[in-house]
Symmetry: C2
Subunit: 490 residues, 2 copies
């Protein structure tokens, strides 16, 4: 706490890295690209998990667990899947170590080589569809609505805490259906669940859309996504929901007998969000003083700091505050009453600001005399002296207000940073300002790649609510029927 | 459901294997030794996790997440740890695949060889203590009370669903303390938490004890354990809590500045339970008709099966039953009202018996006329016709009664199967009957190994409540000061 954070304006990237470390969210481990999620960071992730898991269960899904390892040959079964995924993976080749005969600790036992190498799962479609083959015989076994919470590994060369790590935590839903319509409805439903979670828990507005063929998941017929805008004007893909068609069913021979007694391939979906959401959460709201957390995901929602001289003053404050803390907890609020004596109130204020605690209450001797208490809200950093009586309701209202205000703020930012452009010059100029750019595109992968090459901007999505509108592609001038969203992205 | 289960008397081992599969708990995957935990099995595990996690948090622990991979060199740092653990591990040697130039799918890219191999964690002491080095400077950073929910891999040659699998799920607590006494108190506290969970949630009585040096965790000064007795008379280690002394602190150079301004090594503990508990749960209570689940861990606590002819009868039953189902749910009971029409009531009865649903209610036309409902309890398989009015309270009471009765039954079984013996002949005779054998042992590892060689029995633990009592070792006749518990074990 001795140094302040780098400011977002000076160095956004450094601000992010430092914030993640100083707020005790995560740090790098001794294994390249693998992070350690520290207790405070993990407690936010747990809140995310709990909220998402409840939503998955409300929509009829159950959890299961599939193996960490995938036989190498499985990856080759779905042709486009192997193209898109199989390359940067952790490969297990041996199953035993032995003492180094030369005394240098342990070495890999050359005699314990696996016949077929195992891949640490980068995603589980292959291992799950090879299982579904045995679980599905008739329409009565459908729909199969399963989710898994798991760790996955993708060997990334350049990693950043939460945003891109070799190992990360996620959930992956894998469902099987009797009809195409039902599978598409599931894909869309889960996109709505993700958008609902992002907006109502993370307080982060998202654009719902469809990925272009270039950006589609390897093995999917269609990839739906939610895209959010970070404070530096870069986009971040926050969740994806894939309509898999019959691709994996065909690759793993998963057929079912329909009501009409016909044998047909099953229709599939998969959908996931990961600890990357932690990165999105941090970048969506936080400021130069530290984290700003939405109350619904804050591990500590209210901190109470006593300001006192000597034991007697402290005891008087404790006697006054304990019933308030108790009442708040009874209303479901997580409260920390920090009576520790090894740090000054000022140090504590800065520390809880850094950690994004939404509401801070401070009470000192003068407050005790006047029947007041000071309330500070983290989002606006406003401090107000309030009557102590009735403060409980004020706190509850303030938590709700912060949740909606930070959403509104992020939405206003995104609206301000979403530019509608019609020419290449406008496009490149606005791109450098950052934000989403709504522009016409001729629908070809070549054009999309050319634009990426020239500007580093990618098509984030074709928004679901894009209007039919005749226009000309910003690069080629070829005809286009709707606008798509471009941005530089994480 | 066409075939009945093998009986426990005929073939206990087959009974277990078949039950795990038919009750939809788990199955083998395409990867040798790795299991798939199916939705019904996973939902029991989730209930276990939730209960344990709440208990960990109540005792001041927080969750975090550490990397899946451990650099090979870490394993060699703690000498006895590497001896006990490092051998049967999954080893990652490469980080990339590439297309086979000969067209045979994908192959491991020989150019993507890691400089140092990575081990898939068999347990996380090494990677966690290498991190604690940076987290701990002074006594103010202590105690550090962290738990992790994770998957781990130990390359087992002979595997059995839940009981012994290459990959399994578990929690591992890792704590650091300023004093030896505090670390021992933590080790003992977590043993109590495990015993409390086993007895009050799993309804499974356990013996709390200490492992002999032979059976101690590699790297621990002392291993505490809880031991349970299965219905076939074999023991099962259900949880362990290790006092690590300063071993890992020394191996990873974790020192702290004490209140007295002295630099000293930190004291450590670790403790874990795994999906092995699922195997224990199954074997502790289930019978030849299927699972018997304690109500506190049953995914479905009450199933209601309507018996009807035609739509009108069904609708009348639904109208009558819905308020009951709603009232039970309001009391926190998970209720399934199974109105599906593709299976007969008899089929449903057998199915829910197989799945261990504690209470079954059945209601037919005659019940509707008489104002009655049939209640069947899974543990005793007793069926009773009851007045419909007031059935809600009867169900609540019955759930509590089942929870305590199955515990009492398991306890009576264990008491009956715990034999106090004083001679070698008695020892070998009783061993063949199965159960725990309380006997004198001279305290030497040689004797312990000899007994194991001769009989396959191991010392499960030195019970914490073992009385001081002079006696003679059953094998050597050498003096002994207390009895220990022997058994053949899983």
């Amino acid at each position: 706490m001795s140094k302040s954070l780098p400011s977002r304006a000076d160095n956004y990237s450094e601000w992010y890295n430092e914030l993640v470390k100083r707020a005790d969210l995560a740090e790098n481990s001794a294994v390249r690209g693998c992070m350690i999620i520290k207790p405070y960071g993990y407690s936010i992730w747990e809140k995310m998990q709990r909220a998402l898991d409840d939503m998955f269960k409300e929509t009829g899904h159950t959890n299961a667990y599939f193996p960490l390892f995938i036989p190498k040959s499985f990856l080759s079964k779905e042709a486009s899947h192997v193209e898109g995924f199989a390359k940067e993976c952790a490969v297990v080749t041996h199953y035993r170590l032995k003492n180094d005969p030369n005394g240098g600790g342990v070495i890999v036992d050359p005699e314990a080589k696996l016949e077929e190498e195992l891949i640490v799962r980068p995603t589980s479609e292959t291992v799950i569809w090879s299982t579904y083959k045995n679980w599905i015989q008739s329409y009565r076994d459908l729909p199969l609505l399963i989710n898994q919470w798991a760790n996955v590994v993708r060997w990334e060369m350049r990693t950043r805490l939460f945003l891109r790590t070799a190992e990360f935590l996620w959930q992956e839903g894998h469902t099987a259906h009797a009809t195409k319509q039902e599978a598409i409805a599931e894909t869309e439903q889960m996109l709505e669940v993700y958008a609902d979670f992002a907006e109502n828990f993370m307080a982060m507005p998202v654009v719902k859309g469809i990925k272009t063929a270039n950006e589609r998941f390897a093995g999917a017929d269609e990839t739906y996504c939610i895209e959010a805008l970070m404070q530096d004007g870069k986009a971040l893909q926050a969740g994806t929901s894939h309509f898999l068609g019959q691709n994996f069913a065909k690759a793993f021979d998963v057929k079912f007998l329909s009501k009409e007694n016909q044998l047909d391939y099953v229709w599939g979906t998969s959908w996931g969000v990961s600890t990357r959401l932690m990165g999105a959460l941090i970048m969506a709201h936080s400021d130069d003083q530290g984290l700003v957390l939405p109350p619904k995901l804050a591990p500590i929602q209210v901190v109470i700091v006593p300001i006192y001289k000597g034991e007697d003053q402290l005891n008087a404050i404790i006697e006054k505050v304990n019933p308030l803390a108790k009442a708040l907890r009874k209303s479901g609020v997580s409260v920390k009453f920090d009576t520790s004596d090894n740090q000054s109130p000022g140090f504590k204020f800065a520390e809880y600001e850094l950690k994004g605690v939404p509401v801070r209450l401070a009470i000192g001797n003068r407050d005790m005399e006047n029947g007041t208490i000071e309330l500070a809200r983290r989002d606006t950093r406003e401090k107000t002296s309030m009557p102590f009586d009735g403060i409980e309701q004020v706190v509850l209202d303030t938590l709700e207000d912060i949740q909606s205000k930070i959403y509104a703020k992020a939405l206003a930012f995104r609206q301000e940073k979403t530019h509608v452009v019609n020419t290449w010059d406008e496009f490149t100029a606005k791109l450098d300002e950052g934000g989403f750019i709504s522009a016409h595109w001729d629908g070809s992968s070549e054009t999309e790649e050319k634009i990426k090459e020239l500007t580093k901007a990618t098509i984030r999505c074709i928004p679901l609510d894009a209007k039919e509108e005749a226009g000309k592609c910003i690069l080629t001038g070829n005809p286009s029927s709707k606008r798509v969203l471009f941005a530089r992205a994480y």
